[in-house]
């Protein structure tokens, strides 16, 4: 049990931040989602969400593409394999500790 708690120090701090955890958790359940959907669903401000997405993209946890669907511009985000692995590891550590 104590070993499980000690593993808390191995938690990825980039994902552990609540707003980014929301974004990554949400993206883990869908194939892809655009900026507007994430904005509406998480309730974060546009600027805040933009900053968090940038950080996650820099770390390689999410991939972002700009495209169009009809005449609507879409900024599509999707979780990468690396991001999925980090999230799975985060889940295991937190479950073990709790």
């Amino acid at each position: 049990m104590s070993a499980s708690i000690q593993r808390l120090s191995e938690v990825d701090r980039l994902i552990h931040e609540p707003a980014r955890l929301m974004v990554v958790a949400l993206l883990s359940k869908v194939k892809e989602a655009d900026f507007r959907y994430l904005y509406q669903t998480t309730g974060l401000s546009k600027g805040n969400l933009s900053v968090h997405l940038s950080k996650l993209e820099e770390a390689g946890y999410i991939a972002i593409e700009k495209t169009f669907r009809g005449k609507y511009p879409l900024t599509i985000c999707r979780l990468t394999e690396q991001g999925r692995g980090v999230l799975d590891n985060y889940r295991k550590i937190m479950r073990g500790a709790l």
Partner: protein, 223 residues
Amino acid sequence: MPDASNHPDAVDPNVIASRLLQRAHNRDGSPEIVIGLFFLMASGLVYATAVLPKGTLGFGIAVLSFSFGLPVLIFTLGPLIQWVRRRCLIPREGYVQYRPLDKKRRVSLIILGLTTLVLMTLIVLVLPPPGSWYVALYGILAGIFFALCGRLPRFIFAGVLTALAGVLLAYVDISMDLRFAALFGFQGVVALISGGVTLVRFFNQPPIGAESNECQYPATQRS
């Protein structure tokens, strides 16, 4: 009030994602509108089996539609809601592509669908007419199910109304078929009103400007 942070689920990304997706799913009221139409259709079919003479073509069509058509329709509701959203609501709701169901979940859904189909057929054709308490029990269970599925005040309110309607209809002196037709119809109307009001409020919210869809960083262009 319990502290959510003490609960293990509070930090489970699966739980966080499920709650966010549920909130997004119920944001525009379209699921309630579709469910409302479904219950109104069920109500019409039950009413038809109650008033049409047995052995007529109309009676046969109504029984077959209720037994086979409605269970099949249940599986088309989800894709129908997604189609409507993609066609009409992307500018307001944003775009999302859900992951396809994995094999295990698909198999369990097919088993559930087949079981429902067999049970519905048995209930309609084989079992003797149940007592009036059956309507009350159905109303209460359906109300609890609706409230638990939505987890929002409007769903809880609709669930309470459904339970009350079920209990009241148990005391009304009409045939069992008509009781169920009335209860399904009531459920349908409540869901339609709730979904309609939510949809109107959703459309009355100021839309996000097109420029807000753009993020402030370079990203790869999709071909």
